[in-house]
Symmetry: C3
């Protein structure tokens, strides 16, 4: 157990180090492959398309092995087990690992009381994800702490989850990203970036957190050096937070907010081209 040796840094969408990874998504339109749940699938694809990436989703016969290897990045959303098998997910993960494709694990509903389900997530977490992203309850449960999730919702605060996230980053070797009132992105070597902002309505749009996992995979796809991944993951969170703020102003409720949020992602990324 090393002490945390870095002071937390704050990053926003207009921070100078935020732009490069986002511009590369737009410039390279990476192919990103996702195994996710049908509740979040359409929003996830639309978020990735808005940001300039090229997503494909689902486990048709042969896709996990082929697309896991061909993609620039892979995201595996555990709630995708509502429409794919553990075998599909492990096939995609194996293909990605063999081909050197970085992948993101989203431990949706970890610690919500389904032991078999949690065990599948633990097996996947042992397969060297580049990033683990989730809400406070999920990260705390995966780190071995208390099981506090209520379905797919967190009952814990981001502040409670940060020590668990730091321990999980160290033990897994993955970057750990926790979504909350402020987002925290944590590296195995103790660095920490805090992304303020965003909007509470993101939690009223089903699949918004799941889609973030896909966008992180797009960022990884255009970040060849592992040492730069922490900044990339934080930049993707900052893009998300800024788009949420832009959408919140004119929104009449959570559905027009969701529309404005995807539009704002596209607008921010279009400007990133300049």
């Amino acid at each position: 157990m090393h002490p945390v040796t870095y002071a937390p840094r704050r990053m926003q969408h207009d921070s100078p180090d935020c732009g490069p990874a986002l511009r590369r998504i737009r410039a390279h339109a990476p192919f990103v492959y996702g195994l996710t749940n049908y509740v979040a699938a359409a929003l996830s694809a639309n978020v990735l398309l808005a940001a300039g990436a090229a997503p494909a989703i689902g486990a048709a016969p042969g896709w996990p092995a082929a697309f896991g290897a061909q993609a620039g990045g892979l995201w595996v959303n555990a709630a995708g087990l509502i429409n794919a098998t553990e075998h599909d997910m492990l096939a995609a993960i194996d293909a990605a690992n063999t081909a050197g494709v970085p992948w993101v694990l989203d431990p949706v509903a970890m610690g919500a009381g389904a032991a078999d389900y949690d065990a599948i997530i633990r097996r996947m977490a042992a397969c060297r994800p580049a990033v683990i992203r989730g809400n406070a309850s999920e990260i705390m449960a995966l780190a071995g702490g208390a099981a506090t999730a209520r379905g797919v919702e967190t009952t814990a605060s981001i502040t409670q989850a940060v020590p668990s996230g730091q321990a999980l980053a160290r033990s897994s070797g993955a970057i750990v990203a926790i979504s909350g009132a402020e987002d925290h992105v944590l590296s195995p070597d103790g660095r920490q970036i805090i992304i303020p902002g965003g909007h509470r309505w993101l939690t009223a749009v089903t699949g918004a957190g799941c889609a973030l996992g896909g966008l992180i995979a797009a960022g990884l796809a255009v970040t060849p050096h592992p040492g730069e991944r922490l900044t990339t993951v934080a930049a993707v969170h900052a893009l998300y937070a800024r788009a949420a703020e832009m959408a919140a102003g004119p929104a009449q409720g959570p559905a027009s907010f969701a529309t404005g949020f995807v539009d704002a992602l596209a607008q921010l990324q279009a400007r990133a081209d300049d």
Copy 2:
């Protein structure tokens, strides 16, 4: 066969007895678990989030038994058989029944000509749902009448279906809710509430009927006394009808109507907090 001994009552969103159950959804944010189809899943989750509930959807390994027991309410949409098994559904229903969790059955496409499918719905209907909701053709078919559905669409009118619905309520012991030009909510003991209003564009939004099943489950979750369930189910229909009317005015077509409808649900429920 008892004669109907109560005169039908009419309820709208501004009726005095409509508010309490809706306010409790907002106040308690009940965890509601759904087994539904992937066409309707995202809208259903967004409708529940807009109303203030906390939904989880789908049959990942272990979820039906765990979430069926933990949730405050469960909804089972028969068209969910496009992405889950009868076994999943019965596991969730058994868990709910054992734990005393009320559940809603939506017999989508009952009577549309697929005999094996209809038989599965009959087996689930025998498992003591608290509420059965559907369109006119579905309720008539489940009550043992003519099979008139065309795919997931009704070809019968609400007026034709009410006698079947009353018979089904008596024989099953469930509250029966029929959606149509006016909605009718029927209790096993012969009470009847009519909810006028709504808007025809609701039928042009895929999954709007399915999502209503989820919202009814949220209402049940915050209605501890079975004797109050009839009012709760009617109140949820009245919320739906009022939100549809609010959305119809500024809408340019069915997609902007759908956005406005979810926004209106959130606006109405936010006011319910006051």
Copy 3:
């Protein structure tokens, strides 16, 4: 190999021969059955409802055989293999063929590198689809040319794909429709209709191409004479292109574009009633 003996014809939504099939969709509200993927399912259903058709989607037990025979048209989207089996798809196709129901094949991601998956598409393509629709890479791969797809995206241009599409139309006996900067609709006997217009944002809306397959099936359902199918398929593309143009003007990004697109489909079809 016959030479192409017809000069390409251009068709737009205001062309005199475009209206009849579209008006018949509105007038007859055909029941259209789809086996498609969960990413595109909700948009596909909403597109069909906006145009005036009555869709049902998915392979619940007994649905493929029953609905494949009862529907006026069927569409089979190969990426539907992420949530249905080849057996489901062949059962629906067999039922449709036996009942004389025309069906549409959409070879999503054909040639993207998953050999087993491509083989399933080839087996379905041998079952006499009335129409095969796809993007340039998919049509080229199914015609036996180079495999150029990257996931579900094309890397080839429409111009490159037309000769392959003509060969595929001749060899399969199906009308072949290729989506691109301009859409090309090709008949087995060498006729060709070009549909200009549309908008690039259609490619930023996940499932927009998949939903077009459903709308083509709706058109086939109201076109009793096979000799008129080419015009119908082109008319559906022209409706799509015009709706995209209408939506693009006021849109703030791809999500408000998608909302406006479905609204515009409904508006155009409502006028078609007059």
